[in-house]
Symmetry: C2
Subunit: 660 residues, 2 copies
């Protein structure tokens, strides 16, 4: 049964819904001229950043394209590389475009109806979520229709991963550089509030929410799902070859049911009366999960004729949703860890940071173990079939569209609150935008944890694909081979180096932002008096230039290290490296994102419960929050992409390694 | 050639030198009655702590002993376990005894001669270094003489590791809890100087140097070298069985030449004129290295008849010494990272901590890669023999005695400076004790990095021994087996959980110390006026009780997790777990110790170069230092033991695993 057309059709349907949702958001009024002006600054800044960023990424794509053409006699591989990178950038671009429209419309709607504000913000998010899953399945099914061979499609995943890493790194460095710069000079030195229009870095900060959280995470999940389709299809033909094309259709049909589930879920989420926003999300997620489960049941029994694969898929889905429990436990606004970090702040920043570190280092355990349990369960329930692990991995992807929708909702609400603050909008219900913002923070934290858990299984999958293709099990001494051990330990070390570069890059950008904001306040005293508009564009410009320069070193590390290790020490050492690298990435990433999230909410807890702005306790909490910023929004999320990209690079260069 | 007697004789010689050195230190005068009184407090506190600690550890040993007796029909295994644990505790006890004698004698000698002060402090250190290597080889050779079978000696290594973990954890939590408590209330709140006799926690802080740095590290290196002897002997019979007893003698003869090299090196170190203390150490290290190289050459050619093994040993020795270069680059007092962290402190604690984190995460790379290079080199130079890796591992141990001597020198000088400050001793040359203290900080940092590098290879070795004994290479799908992958990823997670527990434990102890010091100052205003002596003993008591309670959870994790994983998921999953666990431990440990060292020296850099005590920059630097304390002195060093102990536990329970 060749159902490629069905996969494509479902993808096209998703894009049709995207267009409808975007139209329904855009037709809403923008509000006062003042709001339109502020929104214009943000849109302008985002456009400047994305233009320069895409130019830089294009250069890298071009630089990678030519060696690929020379090396692969088959032009279809480099072509799929460019196609994958372009679709990833397109998904991010669509997300960014809608986010900068939905933000101001959400602020305006909040003046009359909180339900309306919620619906606009969520529909903006859904545009991002559906674009990601829609474009991914369109790209993969189109390529399969053209190539008929999944091994030729590795370039697509590689391109998507490469673009994602640069998008996430550049966006992350930009947003946190601006955020720290705005906070350290504005809030701490000048003692003006958050989102005050007198702060020269305020627009850069708001732009950052869009380019970092929205566009960055969108390309992350685009690559995650695309890599999964491709590796699952390769393993379908390697492991389930006897089923022919049906096995190859299994990943695509699961993806299609995920999309249909997401579409139904999206329409189930709205500003229901008497239900809190987070409750609305949960209803949507339930609708999605139920639809996906049905699709998974049908796909497993019809295409594979094996009900046990359905259990495997289900275990992946459950594991990915269970991550939310850990997020609630650690990052929830009144959670025990957040309270203890806030209380430690009463004894100064050092003990607050230490308490946070202690919780951060344990936080990956629960999500990690639930993912590992799902891998092991799928292996056993399918009678020791590696394909069971493939099914579990596809299960972790089913809800991606829905989760991405609730993620992109976050920065839209964050922006909406900022615009309302700057334009002094009075909302119909006090604190509605703050509540949406806080909800957005929770969904963002959940998405990062989800992306990490789902990314871990994806990386395991790519590693297994690599291992099957190079016959990793044939190495002498097996796991005891010093070549494997050294490769593996080296792999463990790379995410540490990557984290160092990512944290350092953000620090450097924040330095320059601090200097620029200080300069503007000093040279033009009218700014702080509110008589003169600060030079917002210059801050955006400085952030853009620094972020794009600083993203290069960590970005290259992900591509260059597998190539060097593979060519110098061989395919077995590289195999070890991939496994080690994914091990430490998969742990450092949630350590960073959970840690940062806890410090962030501890600061909010101090502000809400102790009401002590300006006191040493509040200062201690702000310090913790600032330390956590680059961890949770730069190093953490990009490590997630790093682990998949190193694996995809290895997969791509296999033909080269087989020559040696 | 059975040379067991020779190994024993060299060990006995080492202990004879230990007795001589201890005598030569003890015969020096104590100084004024005031100094004797302060030294008495420290000795008393250390004795209280060690007595309670040894009682707690004995309970654990007893609890482990009975199951071992029931499980192993051969009583020789539980007997060797008790023997290993006892010798480890004895080595630590000897170290502690001499340290509390040498400290005050060093202060007193500093009043007349800096060379004399240096010699006393170093000889005190050498007592520790030589006890560690001497007792280890005595224990191992004695057991081999009795048992004639190295697999029966695993209990010795396991006992040594278990005792070491508790010694390091308990000592570390105690010393850093006291240190942070003394600093936060004394220095920050009351603004009294470091080591001020009015601070109720000052004695606890000085006691901590002895029990944490001296006794803790001593038992760490004792287990490292003991584990290496035993696993090397097991692998000698597995891999080089054709050589008979000669191969079994190889590890012992290398150890013996390391001891002879250390003895010569110790006598080459003294207060040479025109040579700085650190230069003196380097002379000693060179003498040791040259002697060891000769011994390694003879052992390789005579016992194994294979010159390539000599190259492998040499590569291990070189790799372990090269670690010093990384320490110099990162932690040196005027190094670029230290300067940049200090400069970042001018922009507040958050950027200072972020800059430190960025450097911390990259710092393991150089030592780690040099160790990996040595493993790979030894494997290739010996024509793909696993025994080459064994030889390299033994090479990393050769200088342990000498390095441990310079390490124990650190806390002795630290104490000496504290006693001089409290008793207001005037030294012959201004700042001599401060210079010795600074030198001691560098040698301590070096030893921690060395212990981590050498421990990594040891852990690899224990893992290979385990793998050979359970035939890890026979697992289905090899490295692609989901059982191996899940085990490995779970293993990667354990050191994160362990770090969380260790950091949290220190934080909790510091909390209670803060409360106690605050209470004493509040309830008795005479203390701060200098009229009343504070209640030092109560602080020691609180530190002791908390440290010993808090050490239990992380300590159990190391023993319980391999047993559970092995029994529930089998020997292959456990194999994966061991490898993953050593991978992340080997990286987190140097990340923590380097990071903490850099923040510590950045604080000193600020104090020396900016002269800004009481300014926000200095406060920011102190915050960084405090954050680093539990990382560098609790989590980092104990992770090092953690990775060996999990492996030794696995080795011990192999007979149990083979039943399933």
């Amino acid at each position: 049964m060749d159902l490629t057309w069905l996969a494509f059709a479902v993808g096209a349907l998703a894009m049709f819904i995207v267009a409808y949702l975007a139209w329904s958001v855009n037709k809403e009024p923008v509000g006062s001229p003042e709001m339109a002006e502020i929104a214009g600054y943000i849109e302008e800044g985002a456009r400047t950043f994305i233009k320069t960023q895409y130019k830089t990424i294009s250069i890298f794509i071009a630089l990678m394209f030519f060696p690929l053409v020379i090396f692969f006699s088959d032009l279809r591989i480099p072509a799929s590389f460019v196609f994958g990178a372009s679709l990833s950038l397109l998904a991010a671009y669509i997300g960014l475009r809608i986010a900068v429209k939905a933000n101001v419309r959400t602020s305006n709607a909040a003046a009359t109806s909180s339900a309306k504000a919620f619906t606009i913000a969520f529909r903006g998010g859904a545009v991002v979520g559906l674009s990601v899953v829609g474009l991914s399945i369109i790209g993969v099914s189109l390529l399969f229709w053209l190539y008929r061979d999944p091994t030729l499609m590795v370039g697509f995943g590689f391109g998507a991963s490469l673009a994602a890493l640069f998008a996430q790194l550049g966006g992350g460095i930009f947003t946190k550089g601006a955020d720290i710069g705005a906070d350290l000079v504005g809030k701490v030195e000048q003692r003006i509030p958050e989102d005050d229009p007198r702060n020269p870095a305020v627009i850069a900060d708001l732009v950052g929410d869009n380019v970092g959280d929205c566009a960055g995470r969108g390309s992350d999940l685009f690559e995650s799902i695309s890599d999964d389709y491709i590796t699952a299809m390769i393993l379908s033909s390697l492991l389930m070859g006897s089923l022919g094309i049906s096995a190859l259709m299994f990943p695509l049909m699961l993806g299609a049911s995920g999309i249909i589930g997401t579409i139904l879920g999206v329409f189930a989420v709205r500003g229901w009366k008497k239900i809190k926003p987070i409750g609305s999300f949960n209803i949507g997620l339930l609708v999605t999960a139920a639809t996906c489960a049905l699709g998974a049941f049908l796909s497993s029994t019809i295409l594979l004729g094996d009900i046990s694969m359905f259990y495997a898929v289900l275990s992946g889905l459950v594991a990915s949703l269970a991550v939310g429990l850990a997020v609630q436990y650690y990052i929830g606004l009144n959670s025990r860890p957040v309270r203890r970090i806030a209380e430690a702040a009463e004894r100064g920043p050092a003990l607050s940071i230490l308490t946070g570190l202690s919780y951060a280092f344990q936080s990956p355990i629960v999500p990690f173990v639930s993912v590992l349990a799902s891998i092991l369960f799928s292996y056993y329930v399918t009678n020791g079939s590696l394909y069971g692990v493939v099914a579990a991995n596809l299960g972790t992807d089913l809800a991606i569209g829905m989760i991405m929708s609730s993620d992109a909702f976050g920065p839209i609400c964050d922006n909406a609150a900022g615009i309302a603050e700057m334009a002094k909008v009075r909302t119909s219900e006090g604190g509605i935008l703050e509540e949406l913002d806080a909800t957005g923070n929770t969904t963002k934290a959940y998405t990062k944890a989800f992306a990490s858990a789902s990314g871990t299984v994806s990386a395991v999958m790519i590693f297994i694909t690599y291992g099957e293709l190079v016959q990793l099990y044939s190495v002498g001494h097996g796991l005891l081979s010093p070549i494997i051990i050294v490769g593996l330990l080296l792999g463990c070390a790379l995410p540490f180096l990557f984290s160092s570069l990512a944290i350092g890059a953000t620090g450097n950008t924040a330095y320059r932002m601090v200097d620029e904001v200080r300069r503007q306040f000093k040279e033009n005293p009218g700014i702080i008096e509110g008589k003169v508009k600060p030079d917002y564009a210059r801050c955006v410009d400085i952030g853009t230039k620094n972020a794009l320069r600083e993203m290069i070193a960590p970005g290259l590390l992900a591509v260059v290290s597998p190539i060097i290790v593979g060519l110098v020490f061989g395919k077995f050492a590289l195999g070890g490296m991939l496994l080690g690298g994914l091990g430490t990435s998969a742990l450092l990433s949630p350590t960073f994102t959970f840690g940062g999230g806890m410090w962030d909410n501890a600061k909010k807890y101090v502000e809400r419960n102790f009401w002590m702005k300006g006191t040493p306790t509040h200062a201690a909490a702000v310090i913790g929050d600032t330390v956590g910023d680059p961890l949770k929004d730069v190093a953490g999320p990009s490590l997630n992409i790093f682990m998949k990209l190193t694996n995809m690079t290895a997969l791509l260069i296999i033909p080269l390694l087989m020559l040696t």
